[in-house]
Symmetry: C2
Subunit: 501 residues, 2 copies
């Protein structure tokens, strides 16, 4: 293992939070950055707030002390909380457009916020800016069972969507690990998650958008179809743009038939390398696993302990295990599923697994859920930062070896798990000193880039990975992105300081 | 059927052409538009040509009478041939960059050309412009079997790629129906094809690009990974941009495991409406067909006659048939395939098929191939234009009814087939009078838009659908696209007049 310091004891047990933004620890108000918008006089501020209240109604604007602490932060471990000038809760696209128009007239930054479950600071407001919260735009407008699409407002949570479409035998297969996340937030960061290995990420499931531009104009992109060669794909450009190009006010989502049967296999391996070597073979098998995760031994211990579950692997196997592969296969047919699980089990053994465990449905679900909570477990154990680098999946082993060396050289504990089928590594970095931590994280990100990877697979750049993103990107590419940004938002009012400097 | 005039007799039988661009009928030279670049004096032209020769070598530049007629046109039925100032054949990214830099300095239009199999005029050169042909950049640089990616130059054809990767048990599942098409051309138009219903279109299989900007600068986007949330997705923006944003010089393609077994079913239906009603049910079945095509009776007769095959449907069934559904299912397992084919057959019967035929492997392949040739058959029969509108798949029936009305009202014969699983309709329009034809085509496109569709699913806007695209798009969206274009190409040298006016 690449552990180099004892785990810190958790200060307090982290419990499952259905809507983290509502129960996240409130920052001390004194530590929250506040500022008037760009040196406006107080009467200008009052005027701006009056204008906003005129649009969304006085009850849907809060300022100063009325602003709940939840709105000052997201779930990132490093972003400092910021209190905006005003928080608004528009109830319609027209209201969003009017708010953005007012912001544009006053050169006031606008930050969009869904459920606030982001991990890179992208929905932390700007000092003196307007935070647009989409909790009043959380309706599922249509579930179209003939075309297999849902039309939703951005505030709809993954949980709410699933509840609505499951009875139709349909699924929206993006599971970023936090079901209270909103579709708008998922679109902003191109959220991925465990099932991406089979189903792809958010951008593969969003067919069209309605969005408000920085000018306050409203655009519609795409439609209820998968194919188009009709102009630039503005849908794809807005997805993953972290609120810097437009505010999404409606999305057309592609749904899929829900497969009725699933089986979960757990395979302990003697080394991380053996796990990462096995992954391409599992993908090549054609068994099309819907989940293909690696979990290192340390993370497995911590997440299962936190969830209070026993994975049933005997102590003697566990003691030789450096990492686990967690694989889920799905089928519309129960007997095929059984066959596939058996084929997969044999394959995993051939690929060097110490043993292979077929979990009961309940145990499988618990383990996947425990894995989903890995971030919160790491946080409870005192993790100081997290990274979600992606590398070519065959390079994961080399990458983790580099990470181990970096951790050793620079003095940090690094542990993790990841979407092995996608080469997407989630690492928790334990190093309390902010400067040393920054160096470690930057080195870890740069190592991923040098293997042909990217800074973030699914959390986004936000404010927190911005320096590393800029430092590791080509200047021509960055300049081009800045010109694209200017084409959308010439005055730079949309989430400035996020994604691009 | 929605036929309103007798089919014209074919002037000459169309034979299978492996590389249409080499054998397409040469336009009369006198009918080819020629122009000096923007009023340059002859010595300036000579200087430009010398500069180009200095970059790619004199043997890789042709001008005037040396320019083969193939380079003046693509396969669209309506685009007028244009002779460029010069045709260049760069052999490297550096040469492409240098050519574009020279073009920029002289404000000379640059048009990229792959195999010239496009159907919307997008690779027809500009008068006085430079045509960049990628036939010398047609190497497969890498087949990475661990990451399931191929790195290719833009001139690689689908056929060449398939030949290279098939022995590895891998497939690049985009089949736009013309295997001599190049990857670069496929990327330019976001090519789709029959298998998109299961596998998606080009944009779902391109993970990264190297591309030359209008400035001559070279960018790299994406990488050997499926997930990224690291800045704007320039890969997706360039895909489908028809050579107007950048010239692609390298592409990273995602490959998939090749499924060993496939079965083809043919189901005649008494009405087009019954076919389109059946489609959502087939998709919802979870059988995940890799091909789900409708072919109207007229098109089936013509394509099978042209291919010299007998579909084996008895005359009495045929006489009651208005349209066929052609369905292919694939599996890695022969016995599962048999089961799936049986399940599908039963389903199709329940959905109103007059009968269901399971074709032999050979017959199935022949029929799919015949379907792929539908365009050339229509062309041989004198089709005057084609459209490839996409509508929400459940609206196909309503759409085809509208089309029938338009054809009747405006006096044209319209017949076709399409990717029913995607709502993508391919129609041939027979109306020799150019103005009447334009009206019919525009009405057909507008009817698609009014049902929530798009002008083109996979052929692109090019020059030939530009008026209809502009007329049916929102002005805010068009203006935004123009600003994006300007962010990439401020002087407008890349394929001007294509995709955007």
């Amino acid at each position: 293992m690449y552990a180099h310091a004892p785990l810190q004891a958790p200060d307090e047990p982290e419990t499952r939070r259905a809507r983290p933004r509502q129960t996240g620890p409130a920052p001390e108000r004194s530590s929250v950055a506040r500022a008037e918008p760009y040196g406006y006089a107080a009467n200008m501020v009052d005027m701006l707030v009056d204008l906003l209240a005129g649009i969304v109604g006085p009850a849907s604007v809060s300022v100063g002390e009325e602003i709940g602490p939840d709105y000052t932060h997201d779930e990132s471990l490093t972003a400092s909380p910021v209190e905006p000038l005003a928080v608004v809760h528009p109830a319609s696209t027209a209201e969003v457009a009017a708010v953005v128009r007012v912001a544009g007239e006053h050169r006031t930054p606008v930050t969009a916020r869904g459920s606030g479950t982001g991990l890179s600071g992208a929905c932390v407001p700007r000092p003196g800016g307007i935070l647009v919260v989409f909790d009043k735009m959380s309706r599922i407008l249509e579930v179209d069972t003939a075309n297999h699409v849902a039309v939703v407002q951005p505030g709809v949570t993954l949980d709410a969507l699933d509840e609505e479409i499951a009875p139709h035998g349909l699924v929206y297969p993006v599971y970023p690990g936090e079901q209270s996340a909103s579709i708008g937030g998922n679109i902003a960061t191109n959220a991925g998650g465990m099932r991406a290995v089979r189903y792809g990420v958010t951008r593969h499931h969003v067919l069209g958008l309605e969005a408000v531009l920085a000018s306050g104009e409203v655009i519609r992109t795409g439609g209820c179809y998968v194919k188009s060669a009709s102009g630039y794909d503005l849908t794809q450009l807005i997805i993953g743009s972290e609120g810097t190009l437009a505010l999404v006010t409606e999305a057309i989502l592609k749904l899929q038939p829900r497969l009725a049967h699933s089986a979960t296999l757990l395979a302990p391996f003697p080394s991380l390398e053996a796990v990462t070597r096995a992954v391409p073979q599992v993908v090549a098998s054609g068994l099309a696993p819907s989940i293909l995760e690696y979990v290192d031994a340390l993370t497995m211990e911590a997440t299962t302990a936190a969830a209070g579950i026993d994975i049933g692997v005997p102590a003697e196997v566990r003691s030789s295990t450096q990492a686990y592969l967690l694989v889920v296969v799905e089928s519309r047919d129960a007997s095929r599923l059984e066959e596939d699980a058996a084929t997969l089990g044999t394959l995993l053994e051939e690929l060097g697994a110490l043993d292979v465990y077929l979990l009961s449905r309940q145990a499988g679900e618990q383990l996947v859920e425990a894995r989903e909570r890995a971030f919160f477990v790491a946080k409870a154990h005192g993790a100081n930062d997290i990274v979600d680098v992606v590398v070519p999946r065959a390079s994961m082993s080399a990458y983790l070896a580099s990470v181990s060396e970096i951790a050793s050289d620079l003095g940090a504990l690094v542990a993790g798990c990841g979407h092995a089928g996608d080469g997407n590594v989630h690492l928790s970095v334990f190093q309390p000193d902010p400067e040393r931590r920054r160096d470690v994280v930057h080195a870890i990100l740069a190592a991923g880039i040098s293997l042909g990877g990217a800074v973030s697979a699914e959390h986004g750049i936000g404010t927190e990975k911005l320096d590393s993103f800029v430092a590791t990107s080509g200047s021509v590419e960055l300049e081009l992105m800045r010109r694209v940004k200017a084409a959308f938002d010439p005055a730079g009012i949309l989430n400035p300081g996020t994604l691009l400097a």
